[in-house]
Symmetry: D2
Subunit: 326 residues, 4 copies
Amino acid sequence: MNTFGRKFRVSLFGESHGACVGACVDGCPAGTPLQPSDFTLDLQRRQSGARGTTARAERDVPELLSGVFEGKATGAPIAILFRNENTRSGDYAELLSHPRPGHADFVAAHKFGGHADYRGGGHFSGRLTLALVAAGVIAKKLLGSATVTSTILEIGGAKYGAHSAALEEAIAGGDSLGGLLECVVGNMPVGWGEPFFDSVESLVSHIVFAIPGVRGVAFGSGFAAAQQKGSEHNDPIVSPCGKTKTNHAGGVNGGISNGNDLVFRVAVKPTASISAPQQTFDFGKDRVGELRIRGRHDACIALRAPVVVEAATAIALADLMLLQAR
Amino acid sequence: MNTFGRKFRVSLFGESHGACVGACVDGCPAGTPLQPSDFTLDLQRRQSGARGTTARAERDVPELLSGVFEGKATGAPIAILFRNENTRSGDYAELLSHPRPGHADFVAAHKFGGHADYRGGGHFSGRLTLALVAAGVIAKKLLGSATVTSTILEIGGAKYGAHSAALEEAIAGGDSLGGLLECVVGNMPVGWGEPFFDSVESLVSHIVFAIPGVRGVAFGSGFAAAQQKGSEHNDPIVSPCGKTKTNHAGGVNGGISNGNDLVFRVAVKPTASISAPQQTFDFGKDRVGELRIRGRHDACIALRAPVVVEAATAIALADLMLLQAR
Amino acid sequence: MNTFGRKFRVSLFGESHGACVGACVDGCPAGTPLQPSDFTLDLQRRQSGARGTTARAERDVPELLSGVFEGKATGAPIAILFRNENTRSGDYAELLSHPRPGHADFVAAHKFGGHADYRGGGHFSGRLTLALVAAGVIAKKLLGSATVTSTILEIGGAKYGAHSAALEEAIAGGDSLGGLLECVVGNMPVGWGEPFFDSVESLVSHIVFAIPGVRGVAFGSGFAAAQQKGSEHNDPIVSPCGKTKTNHAGGVNGGISNGNDLVFRVAVKPTASISAPQQTFDFGKDRVGELRIRGRHDACIALRAPVVVEAATAIALADLMLLQAR
Amino acid sequence: MNTFGRKFRVSLFGESHGACVGACVDGCPAGTPLQPSDFTLDLQRRQSGARGTTARAERDVPELLSGVFEGKATGAPIAILFRNENTRSGDYAELLSHPRPGHADFVAAHKFGGHADYRGGGHFSGRLTLALVAAGVIAKKLLGSATVTSTILEIGGAKYGAHSAALEEAIAGGDSLGGLLECVVGNMPVGWGEPFFDSVESLVSHIVFAIPGVRGVAFGSGFAAAQQKGSEHNDPIVSPCGKTKTNHAGGVNGGISNGNDLVFRVAVKPTASISAPQQTFDFGKDRVGELRIRGRHDACIALRAPVVVEAATAIALADLMLLQAR
């Protein structure tokens, strides 16, 4: 459902073209310093503005509605609201009968009996990640010296930085591109993770796969581990604090952080909304027909995803950190 | 922690060299037919016996301790117990001061203040998957016509079936191999999944990453999606029931099953316990030293993993199925 | 924490003298009709305005921020916000060093390290019940033909309706009164309740005891049952649908509703904030001293409690109803 | 369902006349000393053996199946099993068509479609409290200096100790008696409880109402609070550590423990199974008919309830204690 976490608990709400998106964050320890300006950097990183990202301009000003008093968390739930301002709902009406390939249009209409808010993807929109990023800002503050850093490795198969040609080609063709990200958590303490079921990988993948567009999550050597020998993959411990010579495990053994960097990669699919025509089922005409998607869309959502992956990771780790406290 | 699921809820307990491993399964609908022989096939698949799997011989007879009456689930929790019989705990004492690379030895000792049962990996042992497979047998019964099938694609980078040479080489060298699996759920209904946070991918990856040795989980096109264009990746809908021409999404849009096969791949690392000598920190001697692991181990745990991945998947899906019921 | 429920899930946030109070309601089935006017009656009942209730005048207009589209629930979380308008925070500053007897002032300061919002009781204020009542309005819509009705039986030990003299005396003396309520759920279906731990009584008492000021909850014969014989207390079944001749059980056997009315009583303590002087510890002066509480308070919160108890009950039952669906 | 708790989590399973009853306890901190003899005293207290308690003789020997190693908790789940030995299932077959008043027979058959194990009440039997008491033994060990003590105040309306005549009369008449208990937790620290929804009263009442036969739970002054004035009910703070002059609140303000004794009363109904004939619906004959219950039953379950209430309370408090740790 729309809540994640046991002791640090994030609930999301809102729609792309409704009144707002927001988050309710419960379990933030009292005394944590918190003010609106803390959110600025990560919210800007999410907006990006880079070539290949949406033209929808939102100010994304966080309203801290509760749980903060005199610049500090009170221990009560922190409700954060972002009013939607720049909405153009007229763009979406035809998608009711002609659902977009790769989108939640069809499943949402099915699951919710035709009552889902379809405008701009409604509750399934990437705009929900705005609230996730805001909750992540709070989570990051709880992690002590642990640092969560996510970067783009590739866009459309090209190394990040050398991806301009592929991106321009996609934009020109009304197409979109996927991307590959890496997330590294430095200064991870030993001992976070609650196996059997709530391993570090379990909670991190749970929340990262909730981010729209994520297709794969892999820790350490990831899928390459399937091709390795144990003598190659095993990470010899080289110091009493648990530091290892290599980090093929990605910082986790037996579901518990081992004191090395937590490292994982995330595959982000290309944006589903492309302006190039697509042949897909038209429920209005009861046959396959051509769909041309209008509206403003990112040519590559991966470009905006690093801070979202960071937020998701920080939320999972904040919960694990509080869970392991005795 | 050691419980997974909201309406179909599985709790695991036990240790590799303790009295038993077991599961407590809550939420199985009353009337579900259930008898000990239902477990035989999947338990045998987990034992495998194939070249490259452990010599530890256990009968693995399930005791159905509760929740079953006259061959049917009663609606009360189903406790299942497997007594450990073939244990050789003497093999493990030295690992206390010389933790194995790639194992939970070090983190377990750290997290649990030296009180973890270290014998045979204790609660971190792959033997816990015995209880998971048993719970999965129950879960599979709840899925109606949906079928969960997991197969091995590769062992040590070689195509499954053509992996003998690589395996023999690893065994001869006291080494181990990883493997790549695919899991396909056929006859998936439309509408399972509870986003934002409890998407199909989120719950499936959560529980699959709880399986010891899993390094990566990727749906549909997986990591290849990061290199695709939207026009390649999008799956056009071609029928009113939601069937798509391709299945790059792996059967899920917006976190909700779309009526196509659920498809994902799982990367399994090589077994950490290898008999070849390893240089790793010896806490007894306070310096890096040579470790030679004794005991009986699988040269390739991926060979035994398909039924475990099936069980995990079935458990997550049974929960999602019950959660979406109104 | 600040979330209740498994499938019908209510999260509360807000403070008495902060920006707002609100609720985030997840799990409301799509298609449930919902509009702002649905809240009017119950919100007015909570305001009461009766003699003995607070002079704080709030308009209590619900903002439906999300999860509702074209007059119906969409299946996404429903966020409801009430802006605080009539706040006088200056009344409360001295309570920091001189906590009120019977209030959360002392424990909140202790638990949250001095960071709790103390103004008007902050997150501990009875004003939070505004959000609870709003969530209850939604819950009531889900219960089908089941009706939740709470009434006042006694005020200050006097029969309701004949309590004027006691109330006037309390008001004149700067004092307050407790009260006794009864809640009856008619048309209860057989089969709600998820024992062992999630019995009807368990979930109802859990949420009713979350209402500020509740001291006791008792089902059916309640505490009188302790004085009865089995031959008196047992309710003989007199019809095949489970109707019983008497209802000493209060409509529940073995934690599961039995098809008779659910009946329970709730004891509400007298309002803690009284204007009469009280001798209590003054942390500023480090000794017991006289406290005179200013501000606007209800002389009897029980007068406003029926609709709050109804809301809490409806929320618990909505969750149980959805949990028992297969 | 059959699990309680978030960080200290107890799952119950088993049936009265099945193979066993048991508990799976997750979240017990590693290093907690634990051995079979720790359970002896509380298990004996539950057996009681006093006049008015059942003649069913069980040895109730706990098997510690997992999570304990070398006399200490390992941090892994602790599974505890009690084999049933003295069962006489033949006594119960007729209850299928002639459900007992005051019992779960009717609702269990309805909810579980006729598949519930009806023998001896099955999963609804008071025998499940055996597993609860065992889990409570572990919980009590976690509470530090806090002590949980439950005593009987009244039996059948007579003061405990002076109840012999009433009890003998009930036994002679094939009848049963209810009882009134008080539970006091001494040395309660300030700050346990997680309001809004997880107040101390909420969690304690949740689990206490899960005990079969409990009709009412009331804290401090309890239902008498409804008749009090604020000037009478308020507890003035008289020391800087929060000690109060009186304890009408029962040790909790705003849902959080205030450092005084936690005090509450529990009303236990008379045993439903009485041997005196009862007129109740006979589904076999489709009309009201006389039921004569055979089998061995307690004339007064309240006599055995104190240790069960203690266990339930300790479990709730252990969870709250671990939840408040940072």
